[in-house]
Symmetry: C2
């Protein structure tokens, strides 16, 4: 065991504060990673606030982790000490179900689903029929901390040419948007609509552009117009009725990245016949959809959750190849509570990344 | 022009009563059909009551028409005088758009969509950008009448071996459920769930069984249990929490045929990963769906509208081949207002079909 520090919320109403805790040493097939950078995802805010009524406290968020391998366990073949690696939303999965075998660990159908990087098993023991917990852990601590130990398969390779701090948000925001773009077969020349231009949305625009799509981004924030145009997309204000009308039946695929309950009815007419709008941001009950509009052109409304390990590696490689990545703002961990507030206001351009070297200030100071 | 009689509603609040009107003679490429039977669809009730705020009065419903060709226009090659033909929800379409060329006239993207068998163009002139009306007709009169004149392509062949009165509901209830079963690739051995066991639902069960699927039907009416078991499906009461729980992640496809706003959230967990639930009954705003449940297994919620001409012929042929058809109750046209009331209560086993010979009683009587 090695002692480390991390920032955690003790209650839904409390600010994140440093706590000391123990990380396991690298066991068989595992790697120990010193965390250098960690992205700040809107989910981190939701989870700390218990917005999904499933938070286990203390809650130490962070699932956009980039670091350096500092120790390897027996039998590790993928990574060596000193390698730069990334860890996303999962640190383990059952490895035996059909999705796991197909490289879609994010849809693990083991009794507990995948093991989340923070907040423990995706399906906690008390929600399984027999109280099972295949991971033997009820909570996990994420990347707002000094180190982490994971199975080597769950550590992705950061390709050369991708700055480590830029790579971090690709591990959630990147793969969450890449996975549905790939799954629904978006290809060069397709017209793609991205709704909501925050951490996920701006990555979705960049990735879709890299895939050769013609991208339109939808926002409610006038002050994002210039920023988004620079990403390679046409920008449309959602309240511009004329512009919305002109785009009727024009999209091959749409992706909503808005991280809370919202109304997708204005966007359904914009899809071409037989096409799909996928919701990745709002993991909660949505406003009702008018099935007349859906049925009249045989459209679909779908959802998608992060991505598998293979897809995560693919999107890291794609970003390196195309020289793209999130637009980030580096912050020290001590500013995390202010960062959460800015995120709630949508006031970020476009992703905060914590420089974990800042953790040492606390250790020196206290 | 030939004078005929039909039953129509003059206002949203009025009962259907006989009116005299004129049908065109068979023009070039058209056939004139003496109507023998017409099914009573739940849409007929909705349309007469102006539930979709788009009814044009007088409203003469009926889009499950079977009859005999009594005259053919110049150049007609598909049908001869005396042939038994069926006419479904459409009597014309633009013939030039991509869906029309692909045999999916039900998704016609011409300026007015397809021409509905009753209530005029699917997209009325005032809802088009330029006020266009390619059909030159603002209202159409359906099959609750003595005769109809249509383009020959829109008259389907009733296969030998299918009783005419049984064939009628296949033209809407049959194809509306067959089309999505086919489009989403249902095959032998698939587990299919059918929600709502009325006119559409009981046909969906029979067709899915004929396709080789293992079918479970969901109902809220205890008194339908025996009836539905006879159709070849396992029946589950929607309020049986244990039964619903036991069916989690078990369906390859689900079809909701409930003809009004309802909650599909209880059914989404029952789909397997990556699978789709399609709504064909409720053409209106639905209750909101929990996107967490949808996204966690990359599921889809879709809609589908009737079917194309080729599919309509396919489902007629499939029913003849498998010796299946709707369970019908024959009524005289004079009972149509009572039939509407029974339909609203869900009190039909399972489809009313009007014997149009009864029209002559009125003609004699008045």
């Amino acid at each position: 065991m090695s002692s480390t520090t991390g920032y955690a919320a003790k209650h839904s109403y409390s600010r994140l504060k440093p706590i000391e805790f123990e990380r396991d040493p690298a066991g068989k097939g595992e790697v120990e990673v010193e965390i250098l950078f960690c992205g700040v995802c809107h989910s981190d805010v939701h989870q700390c606030a218990n917005d999904w009524s499933n938070t286990i406290y203390p809650c130490m968020p962070g699932h956009e982790i980039v670091g350096r391998v500092t120790a390897i366990g027996q039998g590790v073949t993928r990574h060596s000490i000193g390698d730069s690696v990334g860890i996303g939303c999962m640190v383990d999965s059952c490895q035996t179900c059909e999705p796991c075998k197909a490289g879609e660990e994010n849809y693990c159908e083991g009794p507990n689903g995948f093991l989340s990087t923070y907040n423990g098993p995706f399906v906690p023991a008390e929600k399984t029929p027999t109280g099972e917990n295949i991971y033997g852990r009820s909570n996990t601590f994420g990347g707002y901390s000094g180190s982490i130990t994971v199975r080597e398969e769950f550590a992705l390779k950061i390709p050369a040419g991708l700055r480590l701090e830029v790579a971090a948000p690709i591990l959630c925001a990147g793969v969450t948007t890449y996975s549905p773009l790939k799954h629904w077969g978006v290809k060069a020349g397709d017209h793609v609509g991205i709704i909501g231009i925050g951490g996920l949305g701006h990555m979705a625009v960049k990735i879709a552009v890299a895939m050769g799509a013609i991208v339109t981004a939808f926002t409610t924030s006038k002050d994002k117009l210039d920023d988004v145009t620079k990403l390679g997309a046409t920008v449309v204000m959602e309240d511009d009725a004329e512009a919305m009308k002109a785009l009727k039946n024009s999209f091959d695929f749409m992706l909503s990245t808005i991280p809370e309950k919202h109304d997708i009815n204005p966007f359904i007419p914009l899809l071409k016949r037989d096409k799909t709008i996928v919701l990745v941001g709002a993991l909660e009950p949505m406003k009702g959809v008018n099935n007349a509009v859906v049925a009249f052109s045989r459209k679909s409304v779908a959802g998608s959750l992060i991505g598998g390990l293979a897809e995560t590696q693919e999107v890291l490689d794609l970003c390196a190849e195309h020289g793209i990545g999130p637009d980030i703002e580096i912050i020290p961990i001590q500013q995390i509570n202010d960062a959460f507030k800015a995120l709630e206001k949508g006031d970020v351009r476009f992703r905060y990344v914590i420089d974990m070297a800042s953790l040492h200030k606390d250790q020196v100071g206290t």
